[in-house]
Symmetry: C2
Subunit: 149 residues, 2 copies
């Protein structure tokens, strides 16, 4: 089948399939006489596997590991569990971070009258030294987390 059919059946856009091939996440598809990529049912299954794992927040690199593990008959399920647990820990950290962000913003919004008067508590808070220690910590954690979620 053509790439667009594989895309439809797997839920992975054609561009992304080509991209996955280009980075070596999936093997290069065989070509038909006209040079078109030719996919079979197992390829679509692999793509669905990838889509699900990505949907669960695994990075492309981690998906690569999962695929290896998946194909490896002697894989230890402990490895997979470990990968999933790491992900859960990442998510928990991220959620906490976001919730403290949310609390701060909500406090700010609650203090903001929100009419046309030019003095705004949010901007004042942003400009003041007050928030500094708090958000610098948050910023640092944010910076370290970045590229991870």
């Amino acid at each position: 089948m053509n790439i667009s059919e594989a895309a439809m059946k797997s839920g992975v856009p054609p561009k992304t399939i080509r991209y996955y091939e280009s980075i070596g996440l999936i093997a290069a598809a065989p070509r038909t006489g006209n040079g078109y990529r030719d996919y079979a049912v197992p390829d679509v299954e692999t793509l669905r596997f990838i889509a699900r794992a990505r949907g669960l927040g695994f990075s492309v690199e981690e998906v690569g590991e999962l695929l290896e593990l998946y194909r490896d008959k002697d894989r230890a399920s402990a490895d997979v569990k470990k990968l999933a647990k790491t992900r859960i820990a990442d998510i928990k950290r991220k959620v906490q971070e976001l919730q403290s962000l949310q609390a701060t913003l909500e406090t700010l919004v609650d203090c903001c009258h929100g009419d046309e008067r030019p003095d705004c508590p949010i901007l004042e808070e942003l400009a003041s030294e007050h928030l500094a220690k708090m958000t610098d910590g948050a910023l640092m954690r944010q910076l370290k987390l970045r590229g991870r979620g």
Copy 2:
């Protein structure tokens, strides 16, 4: 003061300060005789403002708006409040998304025996059609959210 001193006082790394200048988030700093960037106290304050706003999860573009609003004497605090509220909504959505991801992963991990046996519920779930509807929805939302946090 030199860029590294401004960096230390503001908590924004020199590279990042130059980057902010290059994208026009901050004005180009005046130069001393030797071509070094020369910063004053208000510049550091601006950088701290930026650092705090970024720490609160505002995108660089949004920080630009906040800075404009901050400098604009006739700004309406309603505009700022709106921006903050949008951010809160974004965060809430993201948190929910992450929590449902977490729940799914935890279910999977709980079902995974985690020993050396090669059959692993996580991989089976990933490979099966079961999870499809669930994570496809998550994937789609994920895709739409991407680049937003």
